[in-house]
């Protein structure tokens, strides 16, 4: 076994440390400052990209189902709306708040809030229908103070301000855009059904027949990378690739 030797800090350094410890103890006894946020009277300040309750804007949805496909918890189900379009519903009994759905949504129809405290009476109520996702949920606000942790290299401090936080993120923080376009990865397996062409809303896919051969083409400048064709392709041979 090896003996661990502690480096001698010297008398002066030791005295300094003791003095600091006594100082903190005295300060705490007069003005106790715990590290705990006194929720619900206080609320922690969340960053703008906090993964909270999800809101939905049907006007921005292009019905691509990407959110439902990407959800690793299978929490999103698409339901038919009276306008014959399919919109997402979220089962918060399943949702793990990864927000992959929000990240996958090409047109920003899904967006986050800083709401993390919705209460439900039973599991059924946790299934949140599309119409319930448009407006923010009803929550009880008792908070009067906003708490922020300030962390520097020495210490952690709590900054409390008499303020009621806005839980809605109006301006979504810009994410790094990676431009993608649809491309065919196995042209020989294409059956020439034109399904891709029919679903593309930007008219990026075209076809023409000449001399017993059908020519298919994707215009990479027109393609917005929405992925609808990739999802609908009969033979699953289209992929989104980086531009």
């Amino acid at each position: 076994m090896k003996k661990v030797t502690v480096q001698d800090q010297g008398v002066v350094e030791k005295a300094k440390c003791h003095a600091a410890a006594i100082g903190v103890a005295m300060k705490e006894s007069v003005y106790p400052l715990t590290a705990t946020v006194q929720y619900p009277r206080q609320r922690k300040k969340m960053p703008d990209n906090f993964r909270g309750y999800i809101l939905f804007d049907p006007d921005k949805c292009i019905n691509c189902w990407e959110c439902a496909f990407v959800c690793p918890a299978n929490a999103i189900r698409m339901k038919e709306a009276p306008n014959k379009k399919y919109y997402p519903t979220i089962d918060y009994g399943k949702c793990i708040f990864c927000h992959f759905c929000i990240d996958s949504c090409t047109d920003g129809a899904l967006r986050t809030t800083k709401i993390h405290d919705v209460a439900y009476k039973d599991m059924d109520e946790m299934v949140t229908l599309t119409e319930e996702m448009i407006e923010p949920p009803e929550i009880v606000r008792e908070d009067t103070k906003l708490v922020e942790y300030l962390i520097d290299d020495k210490d952690l401090q709590m900054k409390k301000t008499r303020e009621v936080d806005n839980l809605f993120v109006d301006e979504v923080p810009p994410s790094v855009e990676i431009p993608v376009v649809s491309q065919c990865i196995d042209g020989a397996s294409c059956i020439g059904c034109h399904v891709c062409e029919y679903v593309c809303g930007s008219g990026a896919i075209s076809s023409s027949i000449a001399n017993g051969v059908m020519n298919m083409a994707i215009d990479t400048d027109m393609c917005t990378g929405c992925g609808l064709c990739v999802k609908e392709c009969t033979m699953q041979i289209l992929k989104l690739v980086r531009k």
């Binding site: 397996s189 059908m214 020519n215």
Partner: protein, 356 residues
């Protein structure tokens, strides 16, 4: 990074490099020029009653070819057929040149699995499960059945699923193997193993010939010897009339020219010849008994009872059989190709029906 991650990255890079924004598709010939392809298929194959009901067409059709009654059909083709021609490209009977005979064979043996119970020696099940163990495929398609003996397709991904004992064993009714194969091809990572009658095997080969995606993903094709199969409505009615109680039925078999329905408390036996009245028209023009295009064909005739007859055609099948032997999963014996002579000849004669 883990090896798997690196592999996944390489895969993505590989895919990215083959991605293209322009590609060509061959447009098949149309005998009826001003009609959509489905009408062509209908007039050449379905209305002439040579359709085998293999459902190769349905497996690729993006519009909606299905089975209506006993016939392959596309009820609303006038509005829904996209006229892509995929159906006529893959239909093995659109340009029908019937195959027949014993086909190529590198070994002709008999085998009995020690692990599974099946129709004969359960070698079909053994081949698929062993291929899965060897990592050649990650799923095998089985035609199971419900309590009314209607076929249902299953993706077997773990040998434990074979605890459902109805997955092995022969069902003398058509199964929707190929539409399910398309799904399997979509989901598989390593490859798919598929089992089917000769018409299904021909469909698989057509798909592979036409579209690389099927060439790459289908790794093992096991053919079954087949004289004929039946439409569910016809055979179930026939058996009920003969006094077969489906709730007690455990096995159906055809041996020595007799159809035998074994029930828990009884047995119904009659000459197969009697079934001629319900013989599907597609089978009536089918000449392939041994599934000559399969990687390996398995049947009952050609070996002693309790054993499966195995005709090995491709090296991949031999490799799996070598593995089975090495692991001691099955016992092997001699197969007698001579015993197949009668049935092979019987089916060859059906080419004459084609002329009619």
């Amino acid at each position: 990074m883990h090896d798997a991650d690196i592999k996944a990255c390489e895969e993505v890079i590989k895919m990215a490099t083959v991605a293209e924004s322009k590609w060509e598709i061959k447009v098949p010939d149309k005998p009826l020029k001003d009609k959509v392809y489905f009408e062509n298929l209908k007039s050449v194959v379905i209305d002439t009653e040579i359709c085998s009901r293999c459902l190769t067409c349905a497996s690729v059709c993006p519009g909606g070819i299905t089975v209506v009654g006993d016939k392959v059909d596309f009820p609303d083709y006038e509005t829904k057929c996209l006229d892509c021609g995929a159906c006529v490209r893959v239909c093995p009977r659109f340009v029908y040149e019937p195959l027949s005979g014993m086909g190529p064979s590198t070994a002709f043996i008999a085998g009995r699995s020690k692990r599974f119970a099946g129709q004969d020696g359960a070698m079909v099940t053994e081949l698929i499960v062993s291929a899965m163990e060897m990592g050649i495929i990650d799923r095998g398609l089985f035609a199971g059945r419900n309590e009314n003996w209607e076929t249902e397709m299953f993706h077997v991904r773990d040998p434990e699923q074979l605890a459902i004992t109805t997955l092995s064993g022969t069902k003398y009714t058509f199964a929707d193997v190929l539409p399910e194969l398309k799904k399997a091809v979509k989901f598989t990572k390593n490859g798919v193993g598929v089992v089917g009658t000769p018409c299904i095997v021909s469909g698989v080969r057509k798909l592979q010939q036409e579209y690389p995606i099927f060439r790459e993903k289908i790794k093992l094709v096991v053919g079954l010897f087949c004289t004929e199969n039946f439409h569910y409505s016809a055979i179930s009615q026939y058996l009920r009339d003969k006094g077969v109680d489906f709730s007690k039925l455990v096995k159906t078999d055809i041996t020595m020219g007799k159809f035998i329905a074994t029930m828990t408390d009884n047995e119904v036996k009659f000459k197969v010849k009697a079934l001629e009245e319900i013989l599907p028209s597609g089978c009536n023009v089918c000449c392939d008994f041994t599934a000559v295009e399969a990687d390996v064909s398995v049947g009952s005739v050609g070996s002693v009872p309790g054993f499966s007859t195995i005709s090995v055609r491709e090296p991949i099948a031999q490799k799996i059989l070598d593995y089975i032997k090495k692991q001691g999963y099955a016992e092997f014996g001699e197969g007698d190709p001579g015993q197949l002579g009668f049935l092979v000849g019987h089916k060859k004669k059906r080419a004459e029906n084609l002329k009619k």
